[in-house]
């Protein structure tokens, strides 16, 4: 059991957190022909857009209602109306996903009412789904925005029970958390299909942001789950939610359609995947395919080979709650000590993380504590690069955004195979770092006894010295 603390400082330094609205918009990006729209000033969209583009190296659809000072005072109805009409005319989307921002939440725009009015004034929009989710910047974090948006999509777009349409037990709904990459979704799709199941992913980022080259240019998303397929999700035999953040959407699905669900909080590591495979075998009525028996054995072997390098490492990790749980538990099962854990927002899972304390804080907290507690492995998103350089420890990039490395969309962590891959990546980083920085010398052990050894930055001066200069 971990104690959850939040530092009392007034100023966040080097934020780990990103805002709710772009987390919500991210969920809409997994829908086919979608245009996410942030109801706020144009900077809200521009910053988010740049962030996504740098992470995925892809064109990303994201629009703004371009609120100005005056329209903020007068209310945002006209801007929202114009934005919806403009997008409808220019981009011809199949769906528009609208997220509010801090500006429009502070002045209290009633977007639900606005949408009703817009629909009554413009009958041509009758068939265009408009999904609105409230995501103020000043509350929660990226993951919360995603969680709310997916729950809202289920609520608005999934058809209720219909007597004439039978349930199809081979169909499965998958609700992935925002910590899964398009590569992870592809991996899951293959696994499910190998059990003879046909999955519907909501949202399906693997369709839109997996980095494929479309035949034609489209201003909206270039793939993802279609509105029709979402409507039909009530016919599935099961809903699989991945990450605790998706429990809410799964519950909404069950309440609306009666489809039972199961939440898998983790899909990285040996035991979580054993559970997952057993479950798939049960619901499909098929034995676990030979391929996965082999992959399990490969993972076991990878763990044997890598535990020499990962075991005993003091891990400093900063990530959103579900990713934090998944990665830190997997590594602690390999023998690493989760020494510093920082996250962005409240969640039911964080107190179950196998460490003493989880801090809801920023990368300054992560860096300071990592230094104080002599951590020798750092995992966080790309913004950790400055801290990693100062700490001089191996740094594995995980989460969002990863803007200074390629292939962020294809980073794997799920399944036996994905876990194997991830373990090798981290172990190799540790090995490379040791080769480069920690070669034995004749004087290596000539330090005074009793001083704590901080490998990597043993040579740096006292703990009071800050290396910001």
């Amino acid at each position: 059991m971990a104690i959850v603390t939040a530092p009392t400082k007034a100023c966040a330094v080097n934020p780990l957190k990103m805002s709710q609205p772009i987390g919500g918009a991210f969920a809409f990006m997994g829908l086919g022909g979608a245009m996410p729209l942030l109801h706020g000033s144009q900077g809200c969209t521009s910053f988010g857009l740049t962030l996504f583009v740098r992470h995925f190296k892809e064109a990303v659809p994201l629009q703004t209602t371009a609120m100005s000072e005056v329209t903020t005072v007068l209310g945002g109805y006209e801007n929202l109306e114009q934005a919806v009409l403009n997008i409808y005319k220019r981009a011809k989307p199949k769906i528009i996903g609208i997220c509010s921002t801090g500006v429009t939440e502070t002045n209290g725009d009633d977007v639900d009412a606005y949408l009703k009015l817009i629909r009554s004034k413009h009958p041509q929009l009758a068939k265009l789904p408009l999904v609105y989710v409230s995501t103020p910047d000043f509350k929660g974090a990226f993951q919360d925005g995603w969680e709310k948006a997916v729950a809202r999509i289920v609520e608005v777009l999934v058809d209720g029970p219909n007597a004439s349409r039978l349930r199809d037990p081979s169909r499965v709904n998958v609700l992935p958390g925002c910590h899964l990459t398009p590569g992870d979704l592809d991996e899951l799709r293959v696994i499910l299909e190998d059990f003879g199941l046909s999955p519907s992913f909501l949202p399906d980022l693997a369709g839109s942001l997996d980095g494929h080259i479309p035949d034609e240019f489209t201003p909206t998303t270039i793939g993802g789950i279609g509105v029709g397929e979402i409507a039909d999700m009530g016919r599935a035999g099961w809903t699989i939610a991945i990450g605790a953040q998706m429990r809410r959407a799964a519950e909404v699905m069950q309440a609306k359609t009666g489809v039972p669900f199961r939440v898998f909080e983790r899909l990285c590591g040996l035991c979580p995947n054993d559970e997952f495979m057993t479950f798939l075998s049960e619901i499909s009525g098929r034995p676990i395919p030979l391929k996965y028996r082999r992959q399990r054995s490969q993972l076991a072997d990878a763990m044997l080979d890598a535990h020499f390098h990962i075991g005993g490492r003091k891990l400093a990790i900063g990530a959103e709650p579900d990713l934090l749980l998944d990665l830190s538990d997997m590594l602690s099962e390999m023998g690493a000590q989760v020494t510093v854990a920082v996250t962005t927002t409240q969640s039911e899972v964080i107190e179950r993380i196998q460490t003493k304390e989880v801090i809801i804080g920023d990368l300054e907290d992560l860096e300071d504590l990592a230094k104080e507690r002599c951590c020798d492995l750092l995992i966080t998103h790309s913004h950790g690069r400055q801290a990693a350089a100062r700490l001089k420890v191996p740094f594995y990039r995980a989460g969002f955004p990863i803007f200074d490395r390629l292939g962020a969309g294809h980073q794997l962590s799920v399944g036996y195979r994905g876990t194997r891959h991830l373990i090798f990546e981290i172990a190799n980083l540790v090995i490379a770092h040791r080769d480069k920085n920690d070669q034995p010398t004749p004087d290596r052990w000539r330090t005074a006894r009793g001083l704590p050894l901080c490998p990597g930055y043993r040579s740096s001066a006292g703990a009071t010295e800050r290396s910001v200069a």
Partner: protein, 547 residues
């Protein structure tokens, strides 16, 4: 709020701006930012602009007073380089929560300033206002004033909340803050007759350092650069410079003009992009300094350096010219970059098929016309779809633009080069120009493009199947064969069918794709390979049909 509105009006009334000068009184009052269209707007907000303009000051703590979105979503995303402190890359934000919005965020701001001073002891703190605290009425000017006094440290309010306007307006509001609170507050340790300011230069990818050695050689000292690799002390004492060069004319013209007004520092607009532009800028610097009393030998020394550097640069570009000559480029960028890069590309022998002039002033446009001739294809506002069509239709061999449109080019399998702020190569000065040409050549001559334009194996197989079937149908029914020949499109862009191309090949005895291009409407870009195949196969059915 009223003072901010007045400030915005004041900026719109910029006499130094050529575009503004040509407007009527009423137009001028409306301001220079076009009303943004909700749902089809692009670009950053005024806060973004202010932050971009000032963030390259390296030893300053940049504190963003707002919710997490403003800083959390955007920090550490610019490639400016620093010769000293890394403090500018550390993100500070008050991360306002719901409680702060209800009770006001001033207290948190004040505490944040104290924390930063205690922990990091920066030369100064710049406090950026954002939309939400502006809405709820946090008075950052008052907080900064009080904090400056209490901590005896410059704490500068940058009043540029996002919703007041565009990024460009934010640049200027940032400039105003410097004029109000920073410039002229300190004295330099010493001055020389060769002191200059660079205004609107951000040292992206460290490109300033491609030019600085030449200035050093001439004995010209950059007293202050606003703001690339700048330091607080330098900008505070920048009023003692003898002359200024305005590098990015759009972003900080108000700073240059007001410094001329207040401190009598003459300025000129110049650019270090391109060989001739670099030479011209060096000459102007020398001329202004000599006019302000520097020894006249500076002029001669400058000419010597220019002659040497130009000779070197032309020599270095020479080997690339035959490889690049006649290749067509599409340039999509804003303002000063469009004409300064046009000149640069033409020096390398590239032919420009179009340039965007969305952010350019009337003067910029004139210069483009001068450079590209009257047929210059000036694009006011290009949608990504139009860009894609131009590229896919092989009307351009390479696109140069900012990062946001890069995927339009790459997905059309057309070479692309980043010439905006996120780029990783530096293109300034003589060295930079050679680098740019080298990069263009690298990109154009990559063997990868040929592979990527190849059809996938299943497409090739499908075509082979089709060809195997067509002679059989041709023998069976000539009319049907003719119809299928006319139905099969070869050039997708201009909708030219197989029949037309085959007829042209036979009638004019064509042997190359270029020849086919001349005789038909086929573009020969994405369909180049398909035409090559037709030329290679020259099926007998075609001859029969033509006869």
């Amino acid at each position: 709020m009223s003072s901010l509105a007045a400030r915005v009006q004041d900026i719109f009334n910029e006499p130094g701006c050529a575009k503004n000068g040509s407007k009527s009184e009423a137009e001028r009052r409306n301001g220079c930012t076009k009303q943004l269209r909700p749902g089809s707007a692009a670009g950053g907000c005024a806060f973004d602009g202010a932050k971009v303009a000032l963030q390259p000051f390296t030893d300053v703590a940049h504190l963003v007073h707002g919710p997490i979105a403003c800083e959390g979503n955007s920090w550490d995303n610019r490639g400016a380089a620093s010769s000293g402190s890394d403090l500018w890359r550390t993100a500070f934000t008050t991360d306002l929560s719901e409680t702060d919005i209800v009770f006001g965020g001033e207290k948190r701001l004040c505490k944040s300033i104290k924390e930063i001073i205690d922990k990091y002891d920066p030369s100064a703190i710049f406090v950026y206002q954002t939309c939400i605290p502006a809405m709820i009425g946090d008075d950052i000017n008052a907080v900064c004033k009080a904090a400056s006094r209490r901590f005896s440290k410059p704490v500068i309010p940058i009043n540029s909340p996002g919703f007041v306007g565009s990024k460009n307006l934010g640049n200027k509001l940032a400039g105003e803050a410097l004029l109000d609170y920073v410039i002229g507050t300190r004295e330099p340790d010493y001055t020389t007759p060769y002191d200059i300011n660079l205004i609107g230069e951000y040292n992206l990818s460290g490109e300033l350092w491609q030019v600085k050695p030449l200035l050093d050689e001439l004995g010209v000292r950059i007293l202050c650069c606003i703001s690339g690799d700048g330091k607080y002390r330098e900008v505070a004492s920048s009023h003692r410079a003898r002359a200024s060069m305005l590098v990015c004319s759009k972003s900080m013209i108000n700073v240059a003009r007001k410094m001329e007004q207040r401190y009598g520092i003459p300025f000129f607009e110049g650019s270090f992009y391109g060989i001739q532009d670099s030479s011209e800028s060096l000459r102007q610097i020398a001329r202004l300094l000599v006019e302000r009393g520097a020894p006249t030998d500076l002029l001669g020394r400058t000419e010597t350096v220019i002659a040497r550097e130009e000779a070197w640069a032309w020599g270095a570009i020479e080997p690339y010219k035959p490889r690049i000559e006649g290749k067509k480029a599409l340039l999509v960028t804003g303002g000063v970059k469009s004409w300064s890069v046009v000149a640069a590309l033409q020096e390398a022998g590239l032919e420009l098929v179009g340039t965007s002039v969305k952010k350019s002033t009337k003067e910029d446009k004139e210069r483009i016309k001068e450079l590209m001739g009257h047929e210059a294809h000036m694009i006011e506002d290009m949608t990504p779809r139009e860009m894609y069509e131009i590229l896919k239709g092989a009307k351009a061999d390479i696109m140069l633009s900012g990062g946001k449109s890069q995927f339009v080019a790459l997905k059309a399998a057309v070479p692309w080069l980043d010439i905006n702020q996120e780029r990783c190569h530096a293109y300034m000065g003589y060295v930079g120009m050679v680098k740019l040409v080298e990069q263009i050549d690298n990109s154009l001559s990559s063997p990868m493009w040929k592979q990527l334009r190849r059809p996938a194996p299943w497409e090739a197989l499908a075509k082979a199947m089709e060809q195997m079937q067509s002679p059989a149908t041709a023998l069976a029914d000539p009319a049907l064969a003719e119809e299928s020949r006319r139905a099969r499109k070869i050039c997708m862009c201009n909708k030219v069918d197989l029949g037309t191309i085959e007829d042209a090949i036979y009638a004019h005895r064509l042997r190359s794709v270029e020849a086919v291009r001349e005789h038909t409407n086929a573009v020969g870009g994405c369909c180049q390979r398909r035409i090559e195949d037709i030329l290679a196969s020259e099926p007998s059915a075609m001859r029969q049909a033509a006869e």
